[in-house]
Amino acid sequence: MTELAWIDTTLSAARPQAIGALLRYFRDLDIAEEAFQEACLRALRLWPQNGPPRDPAAWLIFVGRNAAIDVVRRRGKERELPDEAVLSDLDDAEASLAERLDDAHYRDDILRLLFICCHPDLPATQQIPLALRIVSGLSVRQIARAFLVSESAMEQRITRAKSRIAAAGVPFEAPGPIERAERLAVVATMIYLVFNEGYSATGLEAPGRAPLCDEAIRLARLLLRLFPAEPEIMGLTALMLLQHARTAARLDADGAIVLMEDQDRSRWNAKMIAEGLALIDKAIRHLRPGPYQLQAAIAALHARAVRAEDTDWVQIDLLYATLEKIQPSPVVTLNRAVALSKVAGPEAALRLIEPLAPQLSGYFHFFGVKGAFLMQLGRNDEARTAFGRAIALASTPAEAAHIRSHLDRLAHDSAPAGATV
């Protein structure tokens, strides 16, 4: 790697910690970001001559803080100074650096930074870009590309999100244990949303969005290093690793979805799978199951199957049943039905999903799965109707194309008299 590339990686790795600490000093996101920016510029100038500092994050915080104090002073001449209470942390600007860079602070700094990005006043469409901009440091252009909107529209979205946060006020006191656990749960949800933005992309969008998956995993690892004994954070990290491991096999050359049973498993990423499995192993020891751990355990059973026919559907069905209990949702039941169809046949599976019809009447996958069960039972006319509904509800051409391939098979199978599956 060239020197510049090394500095670049170091700066982005130190970013969450540095901005988190600067936010604690200045209690203003814009000032914290500007301070970090300024510190990075100085790093680019000084590190090539002086060599990299031992603790890059501490260096950036120190330099950024000093730079921003200047900025705050300069601004004071242009407009009113912020409330003194807001800047109370500046009083002891002389306090020793060592004390300032206490590890315990880092933990809550980074959690706070992640947490304000998931402020309940912000819709998910703003939370994710904000986290990618502030915590991950992706450029507005990169984020705009991932979300298929123009750069100016994305700039506006992020600005709007920031002003909402400023208006709502950021919680700066160190959180108590219960509050910390709540923050962690909210942040975990946001990280999984980031992941799914990348993971759910198909077709031409997929390559542009794939980095979101890497970024989500990076954020989860960061969180896990701060909170190493949280089984749900282990579960979340494992879940994303195990899903992301299939990326190379998940989409065909045209970006259409390849079903798991048809994927070339030799293209799954063995290293990500190993890490995911190790994390689940750790999580299970805590005997505190949760939705992420259960989903990760399901993904692990898929990952462990060398061939599709080796999949342990009995275990998967049991895990979905547990997930249904702790996080009841028609979508979970629908997923369980797929496992049940492998264990007990399509008829039992169909019975399981029939009561879901009113709740899932607008859900593409419901009709896709229902059609598949009906097709397996040889109820071809009903299968056609279900597939027709699915195509009408498909949100991407890839989804519609996948259902059409079923319809083609039905047409093909019905041609010879009386043929069933």
């Binding site: 890059p56 690892r221 190493p228 004994a229 990290t237 190993a274 890490e275 190790a278 750790k282 020891r285």
Partner: protein, 135 residues
């Protein structure tokens, strides 16, 4: 004398490498390793999974304490390591506890190995050589 080279680096930085950057580093390392192989000097090489996958067994008490995360006690030093095959974390922890009984005090950090290269010359350099100079 047989030496271990212990690799330290910032996990944040290495974890931020793209696949291309990572592959490039590994390719450059492979060149050096091949040379060592030719010279008959290369033993096993292991690249560990991230510290987030680590578990620590504190064996300075009975029963020993299992903690999530890597070992981070600067008062103690790395004195050696084992490579152990195990079905699950629990199985490896059992082994570690057994070893800990034989040698109480300190800790073991248990970390899954990501990439492992046994090293063709391991047999030539390794057996029974505890670092004593040959007569």
């Amino acid at each position: 004398m047989l030496y271990a080279i212990l690799c330290y680096h910032s996990e944040d930085v290495v974890g931020s490498w793209t696949k291309e950057e990572d592959d490039a580093v590994m390719a450059k390392l492979a060149v050096v390793q091949e040379k060592l192989v030719r010279e008959g000097r290369l033993g096993p090489v292991a690249r560990l999974l991230p510290t987030t996958a680590a578990t620590t067994l504190r064996k300075d008490r009975e029963p020993p304490l299992v903690l999530d995360g890597p070992f981070a006690e600067t008062k103690e030093q790395l004195l050696g390591f084992y490579l152990i095959e195990g079905e699950s974390l629990d199985a490896v922890l059992d082994t570690a506890k057994e070893l800990g009984k034989a040698n109480p005090g300190g800790s073991y950090e248990i970390r899954p190995v990501g990439t492992f290269f046994p090293g063709p010359s391991a047999g030539a350099v390794a057996p029974g050589q505890s670092g004593e100079p040959k007569p």
